[in-house]
Symmetry: D2
Subunit: 317 residues, 4 copies
């Protein structure tokens, strides 16, 4: 089968390797879609250390091709989202049956189990309550996913902020009760005016930038919650802690590494997706075949107008 291997700076190559073997408690999944994750961008740009190679790819859905001897409850032909940590840009992956979740009858090329799990865990950790006012800063792919799940929780208002007109347009289509172009309006002012001066019950920071992080302290009500979804790489962030402490904010870092938590988020998200309660429509904006994987990563790097998410799609046999 074919698999993408990262051999240098911005340089995936396609290798021919054996289809992976699988243990008695595993299944073999024919990959239909494998998402390009923002966290993989920097490793692609910089390439692996000299003399080493990498096999990334962890946002995988597909169709069960074979099942291990001890596997119950999953059958050949089942459509599933799966949890793998690498080697996902390939025609097949081997994965524990317990890490597979039914994908229902919708389009598999949008059934990106891993980011859905992350977003579901973020929304659960932030514990959005009935009637809350919620702000989502950042209307990229993760912001959109958080947005879609927050919208399922019975909030009063869902205010989405971004600096890109195309992202705001997408957020409006997804049903934001208000979109805010931060290049034209003050987000804290808008939030105050929409919340009787109180601030939002929960603010989700989905950009990973210092500017957005700083803003959260002015959009959130006293004793409210700030959920940090964006990945704040690079230098330390500055937080005006005297103010945040005075406001009694709870800060939730919505990024979970424990397997049980990841699987719980995946189960929740895939249940909703399979039941048609969660829609991913419009979130996957760019599709590439495996042999154009470097173009897929370049698209993520360049973020052309209208970009939310690039994926590798494999041809149906």
């Amino acid at each position: 089968m074919e698999i993408a291997v990262l051999r240098g700076r911005e340089a995936f190559e396609i290798e021919e390797v054996d289809v992976p073997s699988f243990a008695p408690d595993e299944v073999l999944v024919r990959v239909v879609v494998s998402g390009v994750c923002a966290s993989e961008l920097e490793p692609w740009v910089e390439g692996p250390p000299d003399g080493e190679v990498r096999y990334p790819g962890h946002e995988v859905s597909g169709v069960v091709a074979e099942v291990g001897a001890d596997v119950d409850g999953i059958a050949v032909g089942d459509r599933v989202g799966v949890w793998v940590t690498e080697r996902g840009f390939a025609e097949y992956v081997a994965v524990k049956a317990a890490y597979c979740f039914p994908a229902g009858g919708g389009p598999l090329d949008e059934a990106l189990a891993e980011p859905i799990a992350c977003a579901a865990n973020a929304v659960e950790a932030a514990d959005v309550r009935l009637g809350d006012d919620v702000v989502v800063i950042g209307a990229g792919f993760m912001g959109n996913l958080v947005h879609n799940l927050v919208a399922l929780r019975g909030v009063r208002q869902l205010i989405v902020a971004d600096a890109r007109p195309d992202a705001l347009e997408r957020a409006a289509k997804l049903g934001a009760t208000r979109v805010v172009d931060v290049t034209r309006e003050s987000l804290p002012d808008v939030v105050r005016s929409l919340t009787e001066g109180r601030g939002a019950d929960v603010t989700f920071e989905c950009t990973g930038t210092q500017a957005a992080l700083s803003t959260t302290g002015d959009t959130t009500r006293m004793s409210g919650k700030i959920a940090i979804v964006g990945y704040h790489q690079g230098r330390a962030r500055e937080i005006p802690l005297a103010h945040w402490n005075w406001m009694a904010f709870t800060i939730v870092n919505a990024h979970f590494r424990e397997v049980a938590t990841i699987l719980r988020g995946m189960s929740i998200g895939m249940r909703l997706l399979a039941a048609g309660e969660l829609s991913m429509a419009g979130l996957v904006t760019h599709r590439f075949p495996l042999d154009e994987i470097n173009d897929a990563f370049a698209t993520l790097r360049d973020k052309p107008d209208g970009f939310a998410k690039a994926v590798i799609v494999f041809p149906e046999p």
Copy 2:
């Protein structure tokens, strides 16, 4: 002004009394709608003790007519749902400004703040989680309200059971993912088949009957929750506690008497109603003028086909 006074068995009379005075922290509200609550039925049927009278009525919405000297943030003409504990079947009520909640621009004759508060508190207390499977037993007015609020919480399935075809029809219109006529199907069997044998994460008991209560133990998953919304009057209920203990159920009695909790539920519910996120469409099935209040109660007693809720509506001036 006119007010309904209960003077005997099934015998309201309309009295002429002074418009109530109001304190500096209160407002005077011209009543638009006053709901007939099931808990008031028995007192109406039995009448007050000899020589006494009663002034019931606690499900009130209307328009602010005058405001006390110390009142901020509420103005004459505001449309509000309010919390009163009696004397609500009247043209005017006096109520603390802090007990008034904006009703938004929708139809006031459906803005029944008190039962909305009860249902909101029930759903919050049961802590419905993202992706849950939920069963609601009883598709009367309170069951419908719980249904509508659960539907806002991002559940996977919302299974509604009743024995009345008209109630099930209404539940289906409200968006139940499955309705179960318990005279024709076994609810536990249906739930098991829809939940991979596991049972529902939460079951709401909204009937007040022993039979429905008994059923909840067979529709709920291990370590799941049973929320008791129905009012279990009369003799003690029998619970197979060895089984319930084995199943590690948590039982939530969703009936709150603390003022802070009631006001919190009312705030949540009215925020959602005013924002158009919660709909009451179709739940108020029977409307009467004040001088037909005995007919309104008789309708509640007789529950004709299609009945969910009777209210007293006052003519706009």
Copy 3:
């Protein structure tokens, strides 16, 4: 090695069997103590079905004798409490390394991991808060364990009720702030007088009887919690649900079957025991060698004065 096998009514026999083999992820534990659980009494009295035998015993602590090839972090000679579901009345048990918890340096014949896990989970599920007033009904072994763990949670008052003078004496020694002999005093009256008329924040029911269960509704404050620890075998229990609903009680069934929950409770309890923060002193009242196991069960059946817990103790080699 020797193992106790139940072959008839009140009839254990001691069998000679092979020391169990163990898998690569398991360890072999030389048993030091194996507790007699109240849930095993009825099976002993009634005996197994004709032609069948039983190997009970699930409250086991001991010393690691051998470790499987894949086991990390546990060594021969480690003193551990373990989770097994049967075959615990034996000289050796084989158990997954993940089901073993360090027992510290205290007396192993009191390190009964399984009931400690149950009690820890009960106290965690009831979510006792700082400054709470707590009632424990039943001062037998499980009541004592719950008592000891509640006492670690920073409560204001810990009121213990029982009908047996010896049990109340033990509760007083364990530090109850008040003991109540229910044959002489009204527990609800005492609780009201000690809680400014409010009732307890949490009541733990640790007897399994209808009478105690009925009492909990009169000892618990509005919106308080009733934690059911006792096992309510036999006929259905009667609950005055109209009253309980009015009082907005939450009822927690503190009996968990999910492996992850059991292991979490065991981890918590054994951490506290090993650190010397939780004491079991005085709770094991009767000790027997394996060949007197029928006497141990008879003692549980007869509950002589001063009885709390019988265990089988194995001689040190």
Copy 4:
């Protein structure tokens, strides 16, 4: 009566003013102790704006001298801790009856209701669980209070860090399971070695310094909690958010401004104090009469060896 008024830099003066009048729902309290709060130090050092004066003092306990006409449940002679926001360095304060909490029979000069409330709320917000390992950084007065309340919650280990030998000595006397002199040892190393490499379940930051804040990220386990009790005045703090996000920390700002929350913390703390479950012994280290209030503040500023807390004590009549 006498009251301290701040008129300039480090310049309180004692004024003679009328005993305050009190409303029907208030009581008049003869002050016994009034604590000097660290948050008042900077205003004392800098003095009020030109032409203005200040009447600080908000950590007050005393004896009820008179009660308003509408007050129930409090009587003249009752010993109480109270919530006031200013004018506490005075012989009398007028305060709502609802803001008074029984102080029990212990020494009133240690019954500092307001800081006890803050610490109780911090420990409740951090939700310390049974068996947790807890780190407290900072063994000053607030750190000691947090320490004492955490010790009531059934933790396994309570590790206290400071740089001052006298503070560590006091922490050891209060029962820390381990004290760490951060000038001699690496706190993260110690914590790792005591927690099987995992880190603490909860770290309380009680110093208000960047250095301690930075350390919390290395003492707390994945998905653990960081509770910020210290007041982080001055410039913004730097937080390595990529690491904190990876570790999925929840950050609790334990500083509450909502009246209901303050009163709840005060109720909890004073219940425990009055019942003798919470001890303040040894935490009040320096006592001054009202006319030496500038010395009291200077002592807080200079923090002599052995200093934890200065209070103003009023002579018993």
